[in-house]
Amino acid sequence: MKQKNNSYIGIIVLFLLGALMPFILKRYHLNMLTEIIIFALYAVSYNLLLGYAGLLSFGHAMFFGLGAFVAAVAITHIQGLTLLSAVIISFATTVIAGFLIGSLLLRHKGSYFALLTLAFNALFYAVATKWHSVTGGDDGLSISRPELNLGFTSLSVSSVSSFYYLILVVVGATILFCWYFTHTAMGKTVLLMRENEERMKFLGYNTNISRLILFTFTGALAGLAGAFYTLHFQFVSISAISIDMTTAVLLMVFIGGTGTFWGPILGAFVYIVFQNYLSNITDRWPLFMGIIFVFMVLYVPGGLSHTIMTIRQWFSGRKDNHGDGPIKVEETSS
């Protein structure tokens, strides 16, 4: 129970610290932090799929992009749509899409599954490119961020700091829920399926349904991240649904490490900061990102989080390994 209290205190401290940021950071950095939080959700959703369930998908961007486009299209076409309604429409669409695509693809395993997700992503991309009248094709869609309607009052979230607070609370809470999710019955079921799927079946778990539910859930989380991405940039183009966006999430997750829940959050931070600085310095920043990726995969396969854990264990040498109990699995997965 001590640990439980600690984590609650930690969460409160974290949110308070987050709430202070607009007073400390410049607008530019606050804007970047907003972006980091949004991409952290995207990375966390992917890690639930890859790190926890062991499903390698090359098509996560189709959900991110779908969420992003649905939000933009809804805001463009529905007069007076509030911000949260747009997000909910987007979320609901990706839930349906995730369920349908999952039912089709999850019959296949391993590399077949991975290749099929890649193919589906390419299909989504092609549709977004060609369906000019809805998606704007190459031109993309510009939107204006709608107001936040809280029932009794409407708040404008057009400024950098007010939007940051919205993201901190809504996306932050969603990430927090993802963390909680890894401890719930479903979260554990998914994790154990990767450990020993056969045994799970013989213990009464329908593993096919579980996988479908998880695929749908992570897809919807990615869609949610996509919707907030649209709201953040107030613009969406086919880049959001392209293979590049899948590559981006792979990079974030691999840089941060799949072994821990927070690894991908760290990965999103590093990725966005690097992208911002590198792309200002050199037009070949994707090359440098690629080199970092290869380096990470070859020499630091557990990602930054693994390195940090190792260093921490060095310093507190006496710390016994078994104290963490259920977490053990997460740390040893890769």
Partner: protein, 405 residues
């Protein structure tokens, strides 16, 4: 692990604050962000435009700056992607409070930048994006165009064809919005300028077509006097390369015929000689101011301010005039000052029309000839001009609801 999440995030937040360099640059410069593709396939186009903007800044700075401040060009590699361009531009606005942006490549980038400019209340102007809708149905008060749009260029070439008395015209274009808009405008103007002229063939091909033989046979069969095409890049060079040997010998009237890179890439003067074009800036403009500008540029840089360089230079100088007139960098003041402003530069008298922010200017005709002032190979010579009035699209016809108050 729970504690480690918290620790890491605390660490991250602190790192974010500490690691970021403080950009405490005093406001002694006027920054202008130039969104161009500076990597990838269209790198070459983007770099030539950027060259022109930078040269304009150099000229301004050497003559005492703008409002006493230096103009600093911040290149933004758009990668020709609207999301990349707007993201970087947004960062510049937040970081350095940049208020002015420009760009010449990619109507998709332009449309997104135009929206961003309106939202953030900054100014975006273009010296190369030609889609008429940007100052038409999609116009907004923060977006200015200091070059010709598809309507004006098609009008000018239709005018030229009518003036020379050609009666039968074949027209061919890439099958997407740009090509379609260009042909539509051309037909409209030709019908007015020479009602007896006939379009004997109207063809569309996918952008990036490799085999033009089917189109060329149709053109030859239609026996036109001349051919009009807004094609550019490979779609222009392949049309010429494959068409001439097949016997398509007619003069070609094209938007961008005076592109040095295209001419040099073709490497065969006989394919190009006799073709004609119309642009807001060409090297051969026979004005005193232009001769001075070309001479000075050549002296400074060692090469000519051909086409894109010249267009970007002129537009940037026009913008500087607006800032000068406003006497401040306040965006609303500059918008107000630019509306209706005239600029008498190397390419004649330019006027920024208030109703749609589309510059009204003369277009200069060129013909490709063996003997020219600039190069040993075939290049443009001056072939007259279309007055601003003759290529003007009335405010009511642009589709822009009207910007002036």
């Amino acid at each position: 692990m729970k504690r480690s999440i918290i620790r890491t995030l605390c660490f991250l937040s602190v790192a974010l604050i500490v690691s970021l360099p403080m950009s405490a640059v005093a406001q002694d410069t006027i920054k202008i962000g130039a969104t161009e593709p500076l990597s990838g396939t269209f790198k070459d186009i983007g770099e030539r435009y950027l060259d022109g903007v930078k040269y304009a800044a150099k000229v301004i700075n050497e003559s005492g700056g703008l409002l006493g401040k230096k103009v600093e060009v911040v290149p933004i590699d758009s990668e020709l992607k609207p999301d990349v361009a707007t993201r970087k531009a947004q960062n510049l606005i937040l970081k350095d409070d940049v208020k002015f942006f420009c760009g010449g490549t990619g109507s998709s980038v332009g449309a997104a930048m135009s929206q961003l400019a309106q939202r953030e209340n900054v100014i975006m102007f273009t010296y190369g994006m030609a889609a008429a809708t940007m100052t038409g149905a999609k116009c907004n008060k923060n977006f200015f165009r200091a070059c010709a749009n598809t309507d004006q260029q098609s009008y000018a070439l239709a005018e030229l064809i009518a003036r020379n008395g050609y009666g039968k015209v074949a027209i061919i274009a890439q099958d997407y919005s740009f090509g379609q808009e260009a042909l539509a405008a051309f037909k409209k103007k030709l019908a007015r300028a020479n009602p007896s002229a006939k379009i004997v063939a109207e063809l569309y091909h996918p952008a990036g077509t490799k085999d033009y033989a089917p189109y060329i046979s149709q053109i030859i069969a239609a026996k036109p006097d001349v051919i009009f095409t807004p094609n550019w890049g490979n779609d222009l060079t392949l049309l010429l390369k494959q068409g001439r040997p097949m016997g398509m010998s007619q003069k070609i009237f094209s938007y961008y015929i005076n592109d040095l890179v295209t001419i040099q890439a073709l490497g065969d003067d006989s394919l190009m000689i006799g073709n004609m074009g119309a642009e807001v800036y060409t090297l051969s403009i026979p004005t005193k101011k232009n001769e001075e500008f070309v001479a000075r540029f050549y002296k400074d840089m060692g090469y000519y301010p051909t086409w894109l360089r010249g267009k970007a230079y002129l537009a940037t100088m026009f913008w500087a005039e607006a800032v000068k007139k406003a006497g401040t960098t306040d965006v609303n003041a500059v918008i107000k000052a630019w509306e209706g402003l005239t600029y008498d530069g190397p390419a004649g008298l330019w006027t920024m029309r208030a109703c749609d922010h589309q510059t009204q200017m003369p277009l200069w005709f060129t013909e490709i000839a063996k003997e020219n002032k600039f190069f040993k190979h075939a290049f443009e010579v001056s072939a007259g001009m279309a007055t601003a009035q003759s290529v003007e699209v009335p405010c009511e016809e642009t589709g822009c609801p009207g910007l002036a108050k």
